[in-house]
């Protein structure tokens, strides 16, 4: 099977995934009854007239399947409806909050990649040395340290005890640092990015070191060394490129993990991102917002997985496409 056919098959599967999640969620929310009834379950004392007008306003009349297809048709046009609690277009909210989430996650994963490459090379080229064992132990501990606990420790240390970094929010509420939106934003990003970067570095280092140790033992490395290439080029040019293949597939998983646990990260740092928005939505049973946020998170996750899958087959032609 050719690469093009493989990619098409993955694309179709991804579309199925997204639709599958939307059906599960839609069915679940509607299993309780009409979204209006969900709202009423925790807000007694609303008259029938008001219920009628709400139903009209949010387009919640008709059968479950009718509503599902109306909703599905609308989200293709990036129209997620109107938030019941905030009375704002859900698509607008998702965009604003989504950017805040990416603002901490993308730098974190880039920093983690850079740092883990350096650490892994350091460890793998000195296999079974003190440095190597130190790196393995550190990475293992970092990998097991729950992200939110690290976040809490960082807040305690840098915000409460040293008082140098802010513990919550994306911007200062009163005075911006140095009166600059950019500097103030960066200042607030330090702790959440540090937490995410640390977690990702630990996991990536564990993987990359093992992979690098494996590659460095192979014949083509010996051949490269024998041909008189400087060690630096052997490691960074030849070994690292090959060691990166298993790590690449993991990047998608890691990104998914970060996105999936964004509610926790963003609760620890009171960060106004997609995860925090999602928590608010399910606490307040804001049905269009729950659907919208889940769909966006699923979409981002599926896209990340899809991209890594495709990158994988392009980079490594040995892979059997099955």
């Amino acid at each position: 099977m050719g690469t093009a056919r493989y990619i098409v098959r993955r694309l179709i599967f991804s579309a199925f995934l997204i639709i599958g999640v939307s059906i599960i969620l839609f069915a679940m929310i509607n299993a309780i009854g009409n979204p209006i009834e969900i709202l009423l379950a925790e807000r007694p004392g609303i008259t029938d007239e008001i219920i009628e007008s709400i139903t009209q306003y949010y387009g919640l009349g008709g059968s479950v399947t009718d509503r599902y297809f109306t909703w599905l048709g609308a989200i293709i046009r990036f129209d997620f409806g109107t938030s019941i609690i905030y009375n704002l277009p859900v698509s607008e909210m998702l965009l604003t909050y989504g950017l805040e989430t990416l603002k901490i996650q993308i730098p974190a994963i880039l920093i983690a990649l850079l740092v883990s490459v350096l650490i892994s090379v350091l460890a793998a080229t000195r296999q079974y040395s003190r440095i190597d064992f130190g790196v393995i132990a550190g990475a293992m501990v970092g990998h097991s340290l729950p992200g939110f606990l690290l976040g809490i420790l960082l807040i305690l240390l840098f915000s409460y005890w040293l008082g140098v970094l802010p513990s919550y929010g994306a911007y200062s509420t009163r005075n911006l640092l140095m009166d600059s939106m950019v500097i103030d934003g960066l200042w607030h990003m330090v702790l959440p990015v540090a937490m995410l970067a640390f977690f990702n570095t630990a996991t990536l280092t564990l993987l990359l070191r093992a992979s690098l140790v494996d590659v460095l033992r192979q014949d083509f490395i010996t051949a490269a060394r024998a041909s008189g290439l400087p060690e630096r080029r052997v490691v960074f040019g030849h070994a690292l490129r090959n060691a990166f293949i298993p790590v690449l597939t993991y990047l998608g998983i890691l990104f998914g993990l970060m996105l999936g646990t964004a509610p926790v990260t963003e609760t620890v740092f009171t960060w106004p991102g997609l995860g925090a928005l999602y928590i608010m939505a399910i606490q307040q049973l804001d049905y269009p917002l729950i659907m919208g946020a889940t769909m966006i998170i699923t979409f981002m996750l599926v896209t990340a997985t899809l991209l890594t899958d495709i990158a994988y087959v392009i980079i490594d032609p040995r892979i059997r496409l099955a």
Partner: protein, 316 residues
């Protein structure tokens, strides 16, 4: 490492003269595991959690639901000689809550992984043994669960299920919320186990001893459950150990976000109640946090050690 081969070699040498059976795969694995310092540390941590869970009524200085410190105006008190790890904002003794939390953590980890193993081994086993279209369909189904944002979906289901049960007989089940979380974790965390079970069943299907069993006319059930499954266990146990740690962490995160069981004495619940008072009473957050960290680390190290013990060749 070069030390890997030694224990087996010594054992074989010891057994040469006698008519004793050579040590079985489990015993051999244990000899290898014992040599693995990280694995032993993991086992120690896990054993500690188990012991605490069993003996917490004897160990805990206070009842986990004792809020009397609140009445004495001693809530959020720093660690002292009466409350060794201080009290939290609800007047609970932090140490006692931490010790009792081990029970909930283990119940979550074991319960979720029992469900996940049952689903995973069934689906993976059928896929691997049957092959063909069945295999393809079941594995696509498993992949679906691997790609969707499980944690996000669990949060929504826990919240919505909490509303569904209001007014039904289910409402009277004690710790219903916790049970929901356990079942959900089990229902969403099975795909890695299914994948491994499939690979193992596929590999063992053509093993000589399985073909021998087929030849002597063993029943299909016996072939699957008595010949293939026991040989697939080592690889599966590693995943289960990892999964227990993962499930405990997941429950903690669900509780930390406020969707946990308010009646359960769980570490995540303690984090949720005390996070707002982090600045005033950091011990009430750091104690359950450390407990979670050590438990998850313990299960991760244990799984790591088990991988090495069951597959000595991988190490070289």
């Amino acid at each position: 490492m070069d030390s890997e081969a030694t224990p087996t070699a010594t054992l074989q040498a010891e057994n040469l003269g006698s008519r004793q059976r050579p040590p079985g795969v489990w015993r051999q694995s244990w000899y290898r595991f014992r040599r693995n310092r990280a694995g032993m540390l993991g086992l120690t941590l896990v054993s500690l959690v188990v012991l605490i869970a069993i003996f917490c009524p004897l160990l805990a200085p206070f009842d986990p639901s004792d809020q009397s410190a609140m009445l004495r105006g001693a809530a959020r008190r720093a660690p002292d000689s009466i409350h060794l790890l201080g009290t939290d904002r609800n007047g609970y003794d932090v140490l006692s809550r931490m010790l009792y939390g081990a029970r909930t953590a283990l119940a979550v980890g074991l319960g979720a992984m029992a469900i996940a193993s049952l689903i995973g081994v069934t689906i993976g086993g059928i896929a691997g043994y049957a092959g063909g279209m069945t295999d393809e369909l079941l594995m696509r189904f498993a992949e679906f669960f691997m790609v969707i944002p499980v944690f996000i979906v669990i949060l929504a289901v826990v919240r919505l299920f909490g509303i569904v049960v209001v007014g039904t007989w289910l409402e009277n089940i004690p710790n219903l919320n916790l049970i929901t979380i356990i079942v959900l974790l089990g229902c969403f965390e099975w795909p890695p186990i299914a994948r491994m079970a499939r690979a193992e069943f596929l590999r063992l299907k053509h093993a000589e001893f399985v073909e021998a069993a087929v030849c002597i006319g063993s029943r299909k059930r016996d072939i699957l459950l008595r010949h293939i499954l026991p040989n697939a266990l080592p690889s599966l146990i590693v995943l289960v150990a990892l999964g227990i740690g993962g499930a405990i962490l997941a429950e903690t995160m669900v509780s930390f976000l406020g969707f946990g069981d308010p009646k359960a004495v769980s570490w995540g619940q303690s984090l949720f109640f005390n996070y707002e008072a982090l600045k005033v009473a950091p011990w009430a957050v750091l104690t359950p946090g450390t407990a979670i960290f050590l438990t998850v680390l313990g299960f991760n190290l244990l799984a790591d050690g088990l991988t090495d013990a069951f597959n000595p060749r991988l190490r070289q």
